[in-house]
């Protein structure tokens, strides 16, 4: 894959612009306005936030087009929207609509349990979730221009996002100290294309921005994700399922920018009400997990 390809550079370029920011899940124009006013660098349009999808069950699909249009008309920041894993047609619809980024997301019910979308064929850029380096590199090879950890969406529990970010960073560090003759075996182990394994061996990082998602509910959660190496964060249910969305959105934006300054994170954490209710991942049934969707 040619990483200097013009279309690909423009796709990664927008991800570069979102670095250091907070991307917030919104379900309608009113929430989008709150997000933009609080300082979100982009919004993610979806039909229900992950914790509601979890609660209500059923099939979660791409958001209603009228809702996405309404959100696009409301804010001046980039608008992303989710499609089901492998749902090429939903992705083509969102591309025709002109959204700025598509999230091929495990939060929605997968349309294809074997294959992800071949994203290189699209002009619109894609972000995909991952739990480890191999998964990240497979998605990048398919054309994803941004990677995010999956975490466990809608859980209000940061533990899975931490596990996934720790895993990717550790696996990347390990590749940098190996010698070239060990890389083919690594490619086999990670089930990832050799060229990308080689890229990480040389650069110590992914060829695209590496963000964090899934379970961020408090300003300190945001700071933790950044400390562990996330270049920006996605916050889903954490904002609009809390008792004070406007204040919490602002507080998370503040803590995210000043994550290296504990006093700023302290100040951001003060005077907040209740965070969203959280779930203990260890007591959850395997079938309730969203992170195991896709591979």
């Amino acid at each position: 894959m040619n990483y200097l390809d013009e279309t690909y550079r423009v796709k990664v370029g927008l991800a570069e612009m979102l670095k250091g920011g907070v991307i917030m899940d919104v379900t309608d124009a009113k929430q989008a306005e709150i997000a933009e006013k609080a300082g979100a660098c982009a919004v993610m349009a979806l039909e229900r936030v992950p914790s509601d999808i979890r609660k209500e069950g059923g099939v979660a699909r791409m958001s209603q087009i009228s809702k996405i249009r309404e959100i696009m008309a409301t804010c001046s920041i980039p608008v992303m929207a989710k499609v089901r894993i492998g749902h090429i047609a939903e992705a083509r619809v969102l591309e025709a609509l002109g959204v700025d980024y598509i999230d091929e997301s495990e939060v929605l019910t997968p349309a294809d349990e074997e294959n992800h979308i071949w994203k290189r064929d699209f002009k619109v850029p894609f972000v995909c979730g991952c739990r480890n380096l191999g998964e990240a590199l497979r998605r990048i090879h398919e054309g994803a221009a941004m990677i995010r950890t999956k975490g466990e969406a809608g859980s209000g529990n940061i533990v899975e996002a931490v596990r996934h970010m720790r895993t990717i960073i550790r696996e990347m560090k390990q590749l940098t100290v190996l010698s070239p003759d060990e890389l083919m075996a690594e490619s086999k182990k990670h089930q990832a294309p050799f060229e990308l394994i080689h890229y990480v061996h040389e650069h110590g990082k992914l060829p695209v921005p590496n963000f964090s998602a899934g379970g961020i509910a408090t300003p300190a959660d945001a700071a933790l994700a950044r400390m562990l190496g996330a270049e920006a964060i996605f916050v889903g249910s954490g904002i609009f399922k809390s008792s004070d969305p406007e204040k919490r959105a602002k507080a998370i934006v503040k803590a995210n920018t000043h994550y290296q300054d504990p006093k700023a994170v302290l100040e951001a954490s003060e005077e907040l009400g209740d965070a969203m209710p959280g779930l203990d991942i260890r007591t959850m049934d395997e079938s309730e997990l969203m992170q195991t969707r896709g591979w």
Binding site: V10, L14, E16, M17, G21, G39, A40, C41, P78, V99
Partner: protein
């Protein structure tokens, strides 16, 4: 060696730091007024101008930044250019208003209209075309007194020299070409 501050509230500040290093300067991330006081010149990077405005507001960075720009060089790219303009359109919003120009946000359209263009006829020296990466870019609709247009694309200015300050609507930090960052380094005296 001059220290180049890069406003790191949000955006592609890391890419600018790399470009400054390649051009022979010393970059430093700036998030507070105290850090701003330690640098000789400042880059306001690409990113979301609304997000940067909020964070400037939350942490009282507005006045220190305006003060800084009154006697030290500032280079704004994309969102940075929007924040430096006296007039912002689509929508109208607050700015540092350091440079007499009018800028229209997202003027080419959404991400699907982002592009890479090769610019000829620029005033940067050398015959080589200048690569310009436009990401949801703004368009400069008016350049006031004191602005010298160094490069244009589709008949609108995309790189303007304001003497002490410099603005680009594209992202030289995403290209290998160092000429634009070198030009800014020349403006900065330690």
């Amino acid at each position: 060696m001059a220290t180049i501050g890069i406003l790191a509230l949000q955006g592609d500040f890391a890419a600018h730091a790399g470009a400054i290093r390649r051009a022979g300067g010393r970059p430093m991330e700036v998030r507070t007024a105290a850090e701003l006081a330690a640098v000789d010149g400042l880059i306001i990077p690409g990113g979301e101008s609304t997000t940067m405005l909020k964070l400037m507001d939350y942490y009282g960075m507005f006045e220190p930044l305006r003060e800084f720009g009154r006697d030290k060089p500032v280079f704004g790219t994309c969102a940075g250019a929007i924040l430096l303009a006296t007039e912002v359109m689509n929508p109208s919003q607050a700015s540092l208003a350091l440079l007499d120009m009018a800028v229209e946000r997202n003027a080419y359209g959404r991400q699907l209209d982002s592009r890479v263009a090769m610019l000829s006829g620029h005033q940067l020296g050398g015959d080589e075309e200048l690569e310009a990466v436009f990401i949801r870019a703004p368009i400069i609709r008016r350049v006031g007194d004191g602005g010298v247009i160094l490069a244009s694309y589709q008949s609108t200015p995309v790189l303007v020299d304001f003497g002490r300050h410099l603005v680009a609507t594209f992202h030289p930090e995403l290209s290998a070409d160092q000429r634009v960052h070198s030009l800014f380094l020349e403006k900065v005296r330690p």
